[in-house]
């Protein structure tokens, strides 16, 4: 919409004279207006309050007000043993429980110098990649929903149900798994379960192609996402972006390749990345990531060794004094667990590096100059989960 100078009779500063006494438009100005998106909102994922300053239809500034879901995770973890913290990590990013638990458990194992049996490593890899597909399907469904396409949401959740059932079979829970342990995993996976995963992987690429046709090829979607929320590589790196947000801006940085953990260095897969840095690029990167996850899963299931699923780990886990940092490539970006230990079995300080917390800072850079209607697409493309923003 062009910025045209509208001359209004009577009032200065663009004040519209009210024709009716006590009318609601008495204060209608053509200056900037502050709009509140949230905290209860169908399109901001979770309790995010975005205070948007708009000039007509254009966004001038966005200030995110977070903290509505702050549950004092870091303070509480100072009173818990390391094993007790594992369920809490599930609940920070509740849509990516496996990778979160992995971050904590990997940090503790690194600090202890613990050897994890190979079978456990493979099981963890399988779970991480299944979690990635699971999380990306949720993102895909809600992204379509935000843009007005109600149908892909249900299709994506149909496939996600299969994965949730797989998780439930092994861990007992559909969402809060509490599965990773220091030294391995809690339960073993059985051959029938592996077969079920393989069956899922057989029919899933066809479903993915269906979603491609439904949303990706759609000109309306392309028109609403191309060129929207663009950030270049320098901005992305300067703002600490990671995961799909960074990769869509032309920096193919993936912790699974650049700081490998578990058995990713033995897997053959590509890093999904794009150059544009707009919403469409992030969308395509995530879809491609799902395909790469399928590849990794097939390889991991193929090479699953026999052995222990839980190695020898001390019953009372006491980290030697010092500080440790473990990082994991979660579906949203780099999940980091920073532990400061004073030798006790509880952490002296635990800090959780949440990718969504960092990405939310990018919102003003992405949204400035765009229309109010683009805000929804932009927030959806960053894929934030308020649970990990606020902890």
């Amino acid at each position: 919409m062009p910025d045209t100078e509208v001359s209004v009779p009577g009032g200065a500063q663009g004040q519209v004279p009210s024709l009716i006494e006590d009318s609601p438009t008495q204060d209608l100005r053509t200056e900037e207006m502050m709009v509140n998106m949230g905290p209860q909102h169908p399109s901001t994922h979770g309790v995010l309050r975005a205070v948007v300053t708009i000039d007509g239809e254009r966004v001038v500034d966005v200030d995110s007000d977070v903290g509505y879901l702050h549950r004092c995770f870091e303070k509480i973890s100072e009173k818990l043993t390391y094993q007790q913290i594992i369920p809490y990590t599930d609940r920070t990013d509740y849509l990516a429980g496996m990778t979160n638990e992995l971050a904590l458990v990997l940090t503790v194992e690194k600090a202890l110098g613990l050897e994890v049996p190979r079978r456990a490593q493979f099981i963890r890899t399988v779970m991480s990649e299944l979690q990635r597909i699971h999380s990306h399907l949720i993102w895909f469904g809600t992204f379509g929903l935000d843009l007005g396409a109600t149908t892909p949401f249900l299709y994506a959740f149909r496939d996600r149900e299969t994965i949730s059932d797989l998780f439930e079979e092994v861990t007992g829970a559909r969402m809060m798994y509490n599965y990773m342990r220091v030294g391995g995993v809690r339960n073993d996976i059985t051959a029938p379960w592996v077969k079920r995963v393989r069956d899922f992987l057989k029919q899933f690429p066809a479903a993915l192609r269906e979603y491609d046709d439904l949303l990706t090829g759609n000109p309306i979607l392309k028109a609403r996402t191309r060129g929207v929320g663009k950030i270049d590589a320098q901005t992305a790196v300067a703002y600490g972006a990671s995961g799909p947000v960074l990769r869509a801006s032309g920096v193919p940085y993936d912790l699974r390749k650049h700081d490998p953990y578990l058995v990713y260095d033995e897997m053959d897969f590509d890093v999904a990345w794009a150059s544009e840095g707009d919403v469409l690029a992030r969308y395509q990167v995530r879809l491609e990531e799902i395909r790469q996850s399928i590849r990794i899963l097939e390889q991991a299931l193929e090479g699953l060794p026999e052995g222990e699923f839980l190695g020898k780990a001390p019953r009372i886990v006491k980290l030697p004094p010092g500080h440790y940092y473990g990082r994991v490539e979660g579906p949203r970006g780099e999940v980091g667990c920073y532990i400061v230990s004073d030798g006790d079995r509880k952490p002296y300080r635990l800090h959780w590096r949440a990718p969504s917390f960092v990405h939310l800072q990018l919102l003003p850079a992405m949204a400035k100059g765009h229309l109010m209607g683009d805000m929804v697409a932009i927030i959806g493309s960053i894929d934030i989960v308020m649970g990990e923003v606020d902890r």
Binding site: P24, A149, T150, L215, A223
Partner: protein, 345 residues
């Protein structure tokens, strides 16, 4: 012969009643009022019944497209769901916001609903079965559909809420923009038929061919513009956008909201009926009774509108405007030009 019998039934019924009235010595203007009341009751009954069915159909169809079932609990196949919702809505508290402009707030739903019903004055259900065969039929229809604009603006303004106002502005801009290609598409049809009357248009289609064949471009323009006029996805931005909870609808609750909701579906029905009349030949068709043809063709458009709703994402405001002014309008003008040349030759 059977159809001739049925189609002349209203006329014979009227003549019989006329006879009865003169025999009983009752004035004929009373008869006219009686006839008008009967017509209104029939039409309202038809609309309400169909709207009830339409709402159910939307939910069921949407459900099945989305791989789920839709209403199944209330009544067989969930058919009584709409009735249950209507009853629920009727017993809700009537809230008028303190900052609202009372009278305008109360009148706005009616300004939306009444014209939506009044379109049905000229819709031909079957040969001879038409409330009134105005010789300016299609012009009247266009006028009635334009009433949605002031209704929307009144609703948004009187709500006393910034966001309702914004939603109303956007909706108003959208409606006005899409009226132009809509009317241009009907203009081409009128040129082919040589008359504004809906019956004549059906007659012209019976002579030549259904206008969807002769006017493919016009049909597509009409379809898109009509869906935009109805505020349905992919053009439902005024209702479903981020900062507008329900656009101009936000502050309405209870019965008033039900009126808006009913209006939306009644408009869907009337737009489909007009589209069926203009492009698919109305009630004409072999074998089946004309009224059945009319219903079938109307529901084809209803089905298409619902199908599109559950498949496509939403357009942004500026893209919406671009589509109307930069794409649909030139195409519609081109269509008129080509039709004009065709008619002249």
């Amino acid at each position: 012969m059977y159809f001739a019998e049925v189609s002349s039934l209203p006329l014979r019924l009227y003549q019989w009643t006329e006879q009865l009235f003169t025999n009983l010595g009752l004035p004929l203007w009373l008869l006219a009022i009686l006839v008008a009341t009967v017509k209104v009751a029939l039409i309202l009954g038809f609309i309400l019944l169909n709207v009830l069915f339409l709402i159910w159909l939307e939910r069921k169809l949407g459900g099945h497209i989305q791989n789920r079932l839709g209403p199944i609990y209330t009544g067989p196949f969930g058919l009584l769901q709409t009735l249950a919702d209507a009853l629920k809505v009727l017993v809700k508290e009537d809230i008028i916001p303190a900052a609202a402009d009372r009278w305008v707030f109360m009148i706005a739903p009616l300004v939306a609903f009444v014209p939506a019903v009044m379109i049905w004055l000229v819709v031909p259900f079957a040969p001879g079965v038409q409330a009134r065969d105005l010789n300016i039929g299609i012009l009247y229809v266009a006028a009635m559909t334009s009433f949605s604009v002031p209704a929307l603006l009144m609703a948004g303004w009187s709500s006393g809420n910034k966001w309702s106002l914004l939603g109303a502005f956007r909706a108003g801009a959208q409606l006005i923009s899409y009226e132009v290609p809509l009317i241009l598409a009907t203009l081409a049809v009128v040129m082919l038929a040589g008359s504004l009357s809906l019956n004549d248009i059906i007659g012209a289609q019976q002579e030549r061919a259904w206008f969807i064949v002769l006017q493919p471009l016009g049909f597509i323009v009409y379809l898109i513009a009509a869906i935009a006029e109805l505020n349905r996805t992919p053009f439902d931005l005024p209702e479903a956008e981020s900062e507008l909870v329900a656009g101009f609808n936000t502050e309405y609750s209870g019965f008033r909201f039900a009126i808006f909701f009913l209006t939306e579906y009644a408009s869907l029905l009337s737009s489909s009926a007009i589209a069926a009349t203009l492009f698919l030949g109305g009630w004409s068709g072999p074998l089946l009774p004309p009224f059945v043809w009319f219903l079938l063709k109307t529901y084809v458009f209803v089905f298409i509108a619902m199908w599109i709703r559950f498949t496509l994402p939403r357009l942004r405001v500026d893209q919406l405007m671009n589509l109307s002014w930069k794409l649909l309008l030139p195409v519609a003008l081109l269509n008129v030009l080509v039709t004009g040349v065709f008619v002249a030759l």
